[in-house]
């Protein structure tokens, strides 16, 4: 075929990104473009050409469209070039979002198989991973999207989310390799996402909905800021303190180090160091921030009664400005199967409520602002808790004539209400 004769474009600007200690994506792109034996070589030559053109003109040249696979409504990000005349071989450069395992674990074997598939049907360019947690196979013609997906699917992998739908999720490594982990992130991640694959594969919501799973308050998946539903591990009983290890730590680091880096850094000042170098914890006041445990990883540990805190509404900038998630459930235990079921049901109720009540292109965080936290809680059937606020209202601008009934309700809930 004539394509093989295609010349490498001149890329004086991109070439400047081949020097320096950090691995260069440009070098990678060139490697692909020079893979003359491979079907994607011409595509990647033109891709380099278009990218160089972008660097020259400081403008992007992709536009969207509609491309998908049989049976699914989303998961492919279609890209058509606006400068296809100049760069015909990369006129179509779609991305397939494929969901990895929870925790992004691979065998070299499965990774190699993915490479083989992507060499056959795609560009040979793979992003590990997208910010939402997908494997992004980037650079596919419209014609090859279906066969490429079929191959990945046969390999045991499924399409990720895109558009106004449930999105691909991320969980931290947690249980697999982290002593701080307060719940089985992989189990919950798979339980939730795999329960709602229809919501994920067939966009039918007002806007995107994301889950993220972090095993503790360190929030290694950025769940609070970057997901609608943040599932954060925590514990309800007392933190575990190994006083021998505390003493050892103090002996090793010195008292003043411990005071300056642990005691005085507790956000609620609930730590004190005894004269005998033992640590006292005011557990009622501990807000499970993880700091002291982070510093004294050998001596301190979350308690035994573990579960999760749920926050709803995190998102980025469109269109009200960034929003953080806020607490909708201070603690849900995760011991029995019923506990896991409850979390699944609650997730369903939340997504249903979102689907029914959010305006078009409105995220959960914006919805909460518009309808108020109370209406949300009532809508999804979660009990009220003072932990949901930093402080009660400072203004009298509310109609309170339902006060007595409300007090009765809350008291009743307290004596016997779940959560």
């Amino acid at each position: 075929m004539t394509d093989t004769k295609k010349k490498m474009p001149a890329t004086p600007l991109l070439d400047k990104l081949e020097t320096g200690p950090w691995p260069s994506f440009v070098t990678g792109l060139k490697r692909l473009a020079n893979d003359e034996a491979k079907p994607y070589a011409p595509m990647m030559k033109d891709l380099l050409g278009q990218l160089e053109h972008s660097y020259e003109t400081r403008k992007g040249y992709w536009k969207g469209g509609t491309v998908g696979v049989l049976g699914y409504g989303g998961g492919v990000i279609p890209r058509f070039s606006e400068v296809a005349e100049q760069f015909p071989a990369s006129a179509e450069f779609h991305t397939l979002r494929i969901m990895p395992t929870a925790g992004m674990h691979y065998t070299t074997d499965v990774l190699r198989k993915m490479c083989d598939i992507w060499e056959e049907f795609g560009s040979g360019l793979i992003a590990l991973h997208g910010q939402s947690g997908d494997i992004m196979f980037q650079g596919c013609t419209t014609a090859n999207v279906q066969p490429a997906f079929d191959a990945f699917n046969e390999l045991g992998f499924d399409m990720g989310g895109a558009g106004p739908a449930l999105r691909t999720s991320m969980s931290c490594i947690g249980h697999a390799r982290c002593e701080h982990s307060c719940y089985d992130e992989q189990r919950v991640h798979r339980m939730i996402i795999n329960e709602f694959l229809d919501e994920l594969h067939r966009p039918a919501m007002p806007y995107k909905f994301k889950f993220k799973f972090s095993g503790c308050a360190n929030d290694c998946t950025n769940a609070v800021q970057r997901s609608d539903m943040a599932v954060i591990g925590t514990w309800r009983d007392d933190m575990k303190v190994d006083q021998a290890e505390v003493k050892a730590f103090v002996a090793k680091k010195g008292r003043s180090y411990v005071i300056d880096n642990v005691i005085t850094r507790c956000p609620t000042h609930c730590l004190s160091l005894g004269d005998d170098d033992t640590l006292k914890v005011d557990n009622r006041n501990c807000v499970r921030c993880m700091h002291c445990i982070n510093v004294m990883t050998k001596a301190l540990e979350p308690g035994d009664e573990r579960g999760v805190t749920l926050l709803l509404g995190g998102k980025r900038t469109l269109k009200v400005g960034d929003l953080l998630g806020t607490v909708i459930a201070p603690f849900l235990p995760l011991n029995t199967d019923e506990d896991y079921e409850y979390l699944t049901d609650l997730s369903r109720r939340t997504m249903d409520f979102f689907a029914e009540n959010a305006l078009e292109h409105e995220r959960t965080g914006e919805m909460i602002e518009r309808i108020g936290l109370i209406n949300l809680l009532e809508g999804i059937g979660l009990p009220l808790d003072p932990n949901m606020v930093s402080h009660p209202r400072t203004n009298p601008y509310v109609r309170m004539d339902g006060w007595d009934e409300e007090v009765a309700t809350q008291k009743a809930l307290k004596n016997g209400g779940k959560s």
């Binding site: 309800r236 807000v287 921030c289 926050l311 607490v327 003072p386 932990n387 606020v389 209202r393 509310v398």
Partner: protein
């Protein structure tokens, strides 16, 4: 009537009215201490000393009481008197030996000595039924009833820090922010006297005054009047001042709410607004016992648990709101969750949770 033009003299020079020791050492004080509740001992850079004795008054004073205070000032304090921003009276004396007799004279005359340091001072006082045109409760009566109950904390200094109380007889809150604020809270929309609206009210002004735009012009049995969208109205009473026929005050449904954690000083933490603790307390003259009971409960919880120098709100910030509601046996309700502008800022946007 005299056709006299006013002498526009403004704020008078204080010097002729100030105790000579204060004038002499004006701007030159060095330090102070509190030898006993109600007494301040200030020392000037040049070594001059002045003792101040502070006593509580009813603020709404009859000339008889004022003259009584003057008599005491003449007998013990060289004929000088001042009042604090909280309506307490203060006498300055040059010798420590004058302190005890002065305290005795005040106490005998019925003016409790105290209000200094880490005590409860006089409640910041408004007008109520005695004089205001929009109050749903009294002010002087509430203050008197409560100060009777809190008298022990006025004459002693045994709290973690100052505790300031205010009371306001409508939601406007002339009494201001405070560690504990006792404010009127209406719970039903205004009933409208349609016969009067037309003549008494500037309708556009009233409509503009509503924070939630719940008021619409309307014709009621032929007369120009106003109507309220009851789903929007949150019963603030803002429409009542410009339009008395919008009757917000109700003997039954105008309730009392108690707010906690307000702070004016910049000491340690920044100034803070008070936050809702409990509402729907009956407006129960002449002594408002339900209010006193809850206020004392809050004060005791604070007294038992707070660290020295912690103001009420700073104490709550440390122990957290869940524990405040436990310690005071009050109930957290949906009404505590803000839904006014900027409400989101008050939500817990973190996994920081107390169990």
């Amino acid at each position: 009537m005299s056709a006299r033009k006013p002498v526009e003299c403004g704020v008078p020079d204080a010097v002729p009215y100030m105790h000579p020791l204060l004038t002499k050492n004006y701007g030159n004080w060095k330090w102070h201490e509190r030898p006993r509740p109600g007494v301040l001992h200030h020392v000037a850079k040049n070594g001059d000393e002045v003792w101040t004795v502070r006593a509580g008054t009813q603020r709404q004073l009859d000339v008889g009481s004022v003259r009584k205070l003057c008599d005491i000032g003449d007998r013990f304090a060289d004929g000088f008197i001042r009042f604090t921003v909280r309506s307490n009276v203060e006498y300055m004396v040059a010798k420590e030996s004058q302190v005890a007799p002065l305290c005795k004279a005040l106490t005998d005359a019925g003016f409790p000595v105290g209000g200094t340091g880490n005590s409860i001072s006089m409640i910041s006082h408004t007008q109520g039924w005695l004089h205001c045109d929009i109050p749903a409760t009294d002010a002087s009566g509430v203050v008197k009833a409560l100060m009777d109950e809190l008298h022990e904390e006025f004459v002693n200094e045994r709290l973690p820090n100052k505790l300031r109380i205010s009371s306001s007889c409508c939601e406007i809150n002339c009494g201001g922010q405070a560690d504990i604020a006792i404010n009127m809270q209406h719970t039903k929309p205004p009933r409208i006297n349609h016969d009067l609206v037309g003549n008494v009210c500037e309708r556009p002004t009233v409509i503009a005054r509503c924070p939630v735009a719940a008021i619409r012009p309307a014709m009621v049995n032929g007369k120009p009047s106003l109507e309220v969208d009851e789903r929007k109205c949150m019963c603030c009473g803002a429409c009542f001042a410009p339009c008395p026929p919008m009757m917000i005050n109700d003997p039954e449904h105008s309730k009392i709410a108690i707010w906690v954690g307000g702070k004016h000083s910049n000491a340690r933490s920044k100034p803070a607004f008070h936050k809702l603790a409990v509402a729907n307390i009956p407006n129960n003259p002449p002594r408002w016992p339900e209010v006193a009971e809850i206020v004392k409960r809050i004060i005791h919880a604070y007294k038992d648990d707070a660290h020295d120098w912690e103001r009420l709100g700073e104490w709550i910030d440390r122990i957290g709101w869940p524990r405040f509601f436990e310690a005071t046996d009050l109930t957290f309700t949906k009404y505590h969750v803000d839904n006014w502008r900027g409400a989101r800022a008050s939500l817990n946007a973190s996994s920081h949770v107390r169990f």
